[in-house]
Amino acid sequence: MADLSARCGPLALRNPFLLASGIWGESGESLAGAWAAGAGGVVTKSIGSAPRFGYANPTIETYERWGMLNAMGLPNPGIDEYPKEIEIARRAGATVIGSIFGGDADEFARLGARMASTGVVALELNLSCPHAEGFGTEVGSDPKDVEAIVRRVVESSRLPVIAKLTPNTSDPVALALAAERGGASAVSAINTVRGLAIDVRLRRPVLAHGLGGLSGAAIKPVGLACVWQIYEKVSIPVIGVGGIMTADDALEYVMAGARAVEVGTAVAFEGIAVFGRLVRELGERLDALGFSELEDAVGVAHSAPSASSG
């Protein structure tokens, strides 16, 4: 069977399927459970300086099986409490990537240093949560901020840094280039797409916070476009995120240029067993398509030939 191991800059993963941040990410047992289910690595919930309760419910709206809107509001136990969860996951053998979010470069740097001391293999910077005011898009949509934050975290943590980018931008490439200049080892794209749902009988937004973030199959084309554009201009590896439900979805990302992928919403629709299925199906699919290694498929869609003129 095809070799599924993924090299993503300094990261060596047993397979390309990472648990996306915010899914099964608050408890160490859950992170360990995702690893046991077959994930190639797990990204923690995004952790901030202090505990945050997040927004009131409703925090979730679903659209059949093709989409989900959420505004959790970055609930997290805070960086003082969270290391014990990471410890549980690490004891279970999991490859853990620590996700952090902050309001400015200083806060990111402090969090990065703390997170780096927990034994995670890399940091992912959530530069992109579209619905938490004062966080996320505000800092993550300006290339200058992105560069400064990444640089400070790289300095403070000395771990590989993955910059997670927002799709809510006119120019994802500019953000990725900024991350690269700042010293990021990789970028991940995308976080959720800004969205809203209204209940017409109740005459109000469905989510307590109003605005939320769209995830799931609906955003796969958006994530693919970002990865595609970034791959053409940026040298550091790209991690694809958004709407991956099948091995073919993941392969689309790989062929668009991703060296690894993250899976989130699929867990809600299928359970954590989705990781085992994805790993199995990707192996079969690569075999059927004649790839002996996942590596060989990275970015191939950028060099597709045109039909020879007869």
Binding site: E26, E29, N57, T59, I60, T62, N76, G78, E81, D199
Partner: protein
């Protein structure tokens, strides 16, 4: 994915619990819960206290401001409903002991009804702080269960904890299974009695819930997610976990004391 339906009926069950009925066609089974949303306020998990037919119901205990708002809902008011979610009690008929404390009876009543309909012989140990708080006492009687009452203040039945009544029953009569729902310290004691007397116990547990889809991790309980792996667990799964009757997680995911 979410239905918005008017509340059709409001019943004050006890001084601190109110049942809300509403039409909601989705199939449900005893043990399952819905996410019920009072527009303008929070959305909360509530066990279905009525699971059969179109007219479902939840029975709400006054806890904080949201449950208080929910209790004050008048018929005609629209609420958001999604679900039902979670697993169910397995309804193998036999000699059942049902141990309910406080609002725990809400989820146990439809389960008792269903298992009696399949031929089970049901004894209910029903506890409350005081007599007027005995939830669904008459409903349990009407369905043909034997009801053993206890109150903390002795105002009706046994004067003391329902766990004592349960322990005594388990020690003196043969039972095939125990179901319990209530505060975790209470359920822990019931589990202890069950294991002492060799009777399997199933507990319906609560954790903070947000997505109810097994994704957000809010309801993590050891390796389980209460929203999809529960809320009903065989005791053997719970006792190894420090969290059962120990810590739980608050809305930030922080571990907080029992």
């Amino acid at each position: 994915m979410r239905s918005v339906v008017p509340v059709t009926e409001r019943v004050e069950e006890t001084p601190t619990t109110v049942t809300l009925r509403f039409d909601y066609a989705a199939a449900a089974a005893p043990g399952q819960f819905v996410m019920i949303w009072v527009p303008g306020d929070d959305e909360l998990p509530m066990s279905l206290s009525y699971t059969e037919g179109r007219s479902k119901g939840v029975t709400v205990k006054e806890m904080g401001s949201t449950s208080r708002n929910m209790q004050s809902i008048r018929p005609g008011t629209l609420v958001g409903i999604r679900g039902p979610y979670g697993n169910t009690f397995s309804l193998d008929p036999g000699r059942m002991l049902i141990v309910g404390g406080g609002s725990g009876a809400a989820v146990l009543a439809p389960a008792a009804e269903a298992v009696i309909a399949r031929g089970a012989k049901v004894t209910v140990a029903l506890g409350a702080t005081r007599a007027p708080e005995l939830l669904f006492r008459d409903r349990f009687r009407r369905m043909g269960a034997r009801v053993e009452v206890s109150t903390d203040d002795g105002s009706e039945g046994y004067h003391g904890f329902v766990t004592h009544v349960a322990d005594r029953l388990l020690g003196s009569e043969p039972f095939d299974a125990v179901w319990t729902c209530g505060p975790e310290v209470m359920m822990r004691k019931v589990v202890d009695s069950g294991s002492r007397h060799g009777v399997p116990v199933h507990c319906s547990v609560e954790r903070h819930m947000k997505c109810a889809l097994g994704m957000c991790d809010a309801c993590a309980l050891g390796p389980y997610h209460v929203c999809v792996d529960g809320p009903v667990f065989p005791a053997e799964r719970l006792t190894p976990l420090g969290e059962f009757g120990g810590f739980h997680r608050d809305s930030s995911g922080r571990r907080v004391g029992p």
